[in-house]
Symmetry: C2
Subunit: 342 residues, 2 copies
């Protein structure tokens, strides 16, 4: 199966100097993939080996670039030929199976939604990354697209996340947890309480509440939350990880003895560092759309951006969008009888 | 200045076997403190050296114990002679300057509020721990007492947190940040947006938004959030720290070579472990009350429980409650003019 991924080469902090080499490396590693590099051709071509396209790699010129801090509404209105939008258009037109961008999150959300449209039964797209756990990984959504959610939205996130885990990890009945707090008898706010009822009444494998630490203990295959809480939790986790990493570095740099210890501990620590490297988890799907749009960190380097491309490829190969669409259709049956009435 | 701390000896997972020895150690280290040990006398006395009270240490018998999973409303109604409640009564009656409990959080919140009452101008108590940052510490509130907050509550949290930092860290004008997300142009939910306006209009040193990672980068002396988000963020941070700690242990235990490396790295790593030991941060103030009530982790060991007692002692010595009361009074002036009208 040939999977075609469109890449917004202009997005992110580094643009084509990162995205194009990452794309070339990806292509070497994935013989069944082909890529479409979208953006300013004169900036993309110098980063191609020999400057040449191939039957698995072509350039599609786009004349505009969405800036990292541009207002989403303005990008949508004024940049109809941006690399971001053209890449998404390729997905919409069936020229590509997925697209990846390291550009402005707000603009990518708005443009993805405008170009690809929502799946029937889904009200809002959700940002869904894979996160590391003690012994594997979990999917968490939403990570920042929706700051004020209704219980119904959280239910939809649960369905989308479950289909994501089913598709990518080949799990028959992935467990779904609701991010909540464990304090007191008043567990959770009103929205979360109502969402718990909806999730429990659904046919998802709902395991109930997951607290903040439960995300990383891998208590559920999918963790559902609104975008405000999800974003804060993820960034708090990143902050602590950075603090600990920096602290370990400081300890080993303290004096001659500790520096000697560092030399000996280095192989172990660097193996650990590779293992927990957050760049491995780069690439969050925008779920709920009629096509695959993957958001890479703006600061991604070649390795990280390659991972985001891989995520898009995996999502397309495993037909994540079709899975969500089917599940939604089975929940909202619209049968047409002989009489033509529903 | 003699500071008197009342200790609920029966609370927590371990009861008097932890709380009483921790109290005795605290007393040795703080010559200006005296302690009142509250609970079942026959269970407390065996843990006292020589079984003896002194002029700085006495037992107050209380016949009931609030269970760890007892409903707060039932504890409040049925356990009027619980160790938790008697300790708080001592604060209310001026017999003690602060109280500490490792008991049931919900019951402690409800009982503290019922016994001590709220300060004028404060609607709800907030749980406020000290958290470690890259180069010091920060105060974050609320950590779980209030799951649905109005913007006014977040403003009140800001005032209380600022007074806490002013009192305990002797900062003239502590910086206050609002926990928020940085994605897109729609920053934050409706409550947070309105809270930002209130904080900006106040005379606090409001520095604007802080994202999840900013908590641990120490971007603000005080970080304000609702109890749902705060609780999730803190626990997510704890979960990641545990995951990393466990991962490092696994790496060093992998084979003979890594175990040898561990022996050499051990002094450095254990020094680091002590430095970031979360037990050091045990003891969260319930702010907004007319007296000091400190919540210890239920699972606290002697060292950790001692830290919570220390926190209560520091808060009382530095007159945190009076500071908050004064600040609130200055914001809500109720002058009586010659005419007797406000």
């Amino acid at each position: 199966m040939n999977i075609r991924v469109a890449i917004d080469c202009m997005g992110g902090d580094h643009g084509p100097s990162v995205t194009v080499p990452a794309a070339c490396t990806f292509l070497e590693q994935h013989r069944e993939a082909s890529l479409i590099l979208v953006g300013l051709e004169e900036q993309i071509r110098p980063h191609l080996p020999g400057g040449r396209e191939s039957d698995r790699l072509r350039i599609v010129h786009a004349t505009q670039v969405v800036e990292m801090h541009e207002a989403p509404a303005l990008a949508l209105k004024n940049k109809k030929d941006s690399s971001m939008r053209v890449a998404l258009n390729l997905v919409k037109e069936g020229e590509a199976d997925a697209s990846v961008s390291a550009g402005n999150t707000g603009a990518l959300m708005a443009t993805s939604r405008f170009v690809l449209k929502m799946l029937p039964g889904i009200d809002r797209p959700a940002i869904c990354p894979q996160l590391p756990t003690f012994h594997g990984h979990t999917y968490m959504l939403d990570l920042g697209a929706n700051v004020d959610c209704l219980p119904e939205h959280l239910l939809q996130f649960g369905i989308m996340g479950a289909m994501m885990a089913a598709a990518l990890d080949h799990k028959d009945n992935p467990s779904v947890g609701l991010l909540n707090i464990g304090e007191e008898d008043i567990k959770g706010n009103e929205v979360v309480k109502a969402a718990a009822e909806l999730l429990a009444a659904s046919d998802l494998n709902f395991i109930g509440n997951v607290e903040g630490d439960g995300i990383f203990k891998g208590e559920a295959d999918v963790v559902v939350c609104d975008g405000f809480v999800g974003n804060v939790a993820l960034k708090a986790a990143e902050g602590v990880a950075q603090m600990l990493g920096r602290g370990i570095k400081e300890e080993f740099g303290r004096n001659l003895l500790t520096k000697l210890a560092a030399v000996i501990a280095w192989p172990v620590l660097s193996h650990f560092k590779r293992r927990i490297d957050h760049r491995q988890y780069n690439g969050a799907l925008l779920l709920g759309l009629r096509g695959i749009s993957v958001k890479s960190h703006g600061s991604a380097d070649r390795f990280a951006f390659g991972k985001a491309v891989e995520r898009a490829y995996e999502a397309a190969s495993n037909r994540v969008v079709e899975r969500i669409a089917q599940r939604m259709a089975s929940m909202h049956p619209q049968p047409v009888t002989d009489e033509g009435t529903p």
